[in-house]
């Protein structure tokens, strides 16, 4: 079986696709790639279907070795990438030959990065998804020596996508929810007026924020019956530090929510590095849905933005070993490449 052998990886590295939908009523959270835009970028670069799986990195890269010849792509927060010792630009698709090593370094600018393969990684499916969900023991997790299987017989092209920076958003839109009006007005005012800093207390479940103007505590506190949670819920419990729930959130919870981040800003929020400062801006349902439509249109338009790489042979160090083999002899590249 061809695929990508795991040589070295760091905690937080997972296999992710679009997640598992429809099982929250049984206590199973949807999960899935935390940055769906970056996931879609990789699919566009390789011509994959939207629902295939990629490897998601949380800040730290890893080392992999090709078993068989493979087409790969990178997306999300930029990492230094090497194929053997040759640097490879970020956010592009590339060809690796049997035995070559792919090494990814530390992420810059954002938090989550992705490594994709033509056809998606053929790892274990659990409840309709390959997404790892550690606490639920769902779908095979990464381990050293494991070969993340590749689909057979797929080819792609050397392509790239223009950069689109969404990691440094300073105003995050939110909509009001069932408990918003239960909070004291002073807390609601402060929530919308002040800046928040992303803290190191964050993972795929959620991220905790430090209010710049002091803790958002208030007398009495609120407790609610256990209710279903959604991605983007902004919980504000007794400790006065808001927490935004992300892809691996608990399916149900009893902490009051001051509001919910709009769907179109979820990828940006998840990608905010520790120390990033931003504010919350209340928007209407109409505005939130309008932003979602724009966001989805942009994702749907990604395949049209993919550009074939035109490379100057003089800049290619290993022309004979690499480029001729995958570029000329294969002979199945696009005509305009």
């Amino acid at each position: 079986m061809s695929g990508l052998k795991v040589v070295k990886f760091y905690p937080g590295t997972t296999i992710q696709d679009q997640g598992r939908l429809g099982f929250q009523r049984f206590g199973v959270t949807a999960g899935g790639a935390i940055d769906r835009y970056a996931l879609a970028q990789g699919q566009a670069l390789l011509g994959n279907n939207a629902d295939v799986a990629a490897v998601e990195f949380a800040g730290a890269g890893g080392v992999f070795q090709a078993v068989g010849d493979l087409w790969l792509a990178t997306s999300g927060a930029e990492m230094p990438a090497l194929v053997d010792d040759r640097p490879i630009a970020w956010r592009r698709s590339f060809y690796v030959r049997d035995g070559q090593r792919v090494e990814l370094g530390a992420a810059k600018g954002g938090v989550y990065s992705y490594l994709h393969i033509a056809g998606g990684f053929q790892t274990e499916i659990s409840l309709g998804s390959r997404s790892n969900f550690g606490r639920g023991g769902m779908a095979a997790q990464l381990e050293t020596g494991l070969i993340l299987g590749a689909a057979e017989g797929l080819t792609a092209n050397q392509r790239t996508l223009p950069a689109r920076s969404y990691f440094d958003r300073r105003n995050v839109y939110f909509v009001k929810g069932p408990q918003t009006d239960l909070f004291p007005q002073k807390i609601l005012d402060r929530f919308q007026a002040e800046e928040f800093t992303v803290t190191a207390s964050r993972d795929r479940m959620g991220m905790r924020l430090e209010p710049e103007g002091g803790l958002l505590t208030f007398a009495g506190g609120l407790s609610t019956l256990s209710e279903a949670c959604v991605v983007g819920d902004i919980q504000l419990a007794g400790d006065g530090r808001p927490a935004i729930l992300l892809a691996d959130r608990q399916p149900t919870g009893g902490y009051p929510r001051i509001g919910t981040v709009i769907s179109a800003h979820l990828a940006a929020v998840a990608q905010m590095p520790v120390g990033h400062k931003f504010g919350f801006e209340f928007v209407s349902q109409e505005k939130a849905v309008g932003e979602l439509k724009k966001w989805r249109d942009e994702i749907a338009g990604l395949p049209g933005k993919v550009q074939n790489l035109v490379r100057d042979p003089a800049e290619i160090a290993d022309l004979l070993a690499y480029s001729l083999v995958d570029g000329v002899i294969r002979g199945d590249e696009d005509e305009n490449s």
């Binding site: 939908l21 429809g22 099982f23 929250q24 009523r25 049984f26 206590g27 199973v28 659990s126 409840l127 606490r135 639920g136 023991g137 769902m138 909509v175 009001k176 929810g177 069932p178 609610t224 019956l225 256990s226 209710e227 279903a228 959604v230 991605v231 983007g232 819920d233 608990q250 399916p251 149900t252 919910t260 981040v261 709009i262 769907s263 349902q285 939130a288 849905v289 979602l292 439509k293 989805r296």
Partner: protein
Amino acid sequence: MKFPRIHPLGDSAMLVQFDDVFSMEANAKALALDRVLSANMPMGVVELVPTIASLMIRFDPLETSYLALQEICQEAIAGGLEGEHQDNRTFIVPAIYGGQDGPDLAEVADLMGVSDDQAIASHSETTLQVMMLGFAPGCSYLGLLSEAWNIPRGTKINPQVPAGALLVALRQVVFPGAPMPTGWRQIGRAPVKTFDVARDPVFALSSGDKIRFEPISVKKAAFVDDSLLWTAEQ
């Protein structure tokens, strides 16, 4: 405040709340609305998640709208959500009480002011309902036990209880489908799997199911075969 209340929950979900305090009546309504909508899933609805006293409806706002679904919910509620669901399944589930499988039984009996045996008898003679699943995969919340079981949650976190643990507080039983941490007291364990990704059905229990625990000995528990338990009509 007046119930039911319908609120948006983000831009792709909404919450129909039937109460803001615990009540079996609100739970029955949440499950009834879940049944009504499931039977005739409105266009654009992606998922329904019933909990103790509310129903979360996840939808695609580019295929439907909050306002359209709000109207559908209001009509369903106006049409009446009363009446017990007739098709509820009932499961008799073997359980070991006390000992290593129920380390907190004596403490719980003390809080109730009864003997260990009386607590076991009371717990196992009550037919409970699955009020919701949540917190972790296959973890069900069962209720209600008699008023004597209105005891608080524990004061310390137990880092791991096994799947099938019988955890009690607030007249409820939390019945986990996989090992998990808890602050609730463990009085027993059912030697069964309610959650198994390799099995069909993966989840043995659904909201609305009825369940009664039947005390068995540790010795007998080793011979429990739950492969037929969840499919047998009882």
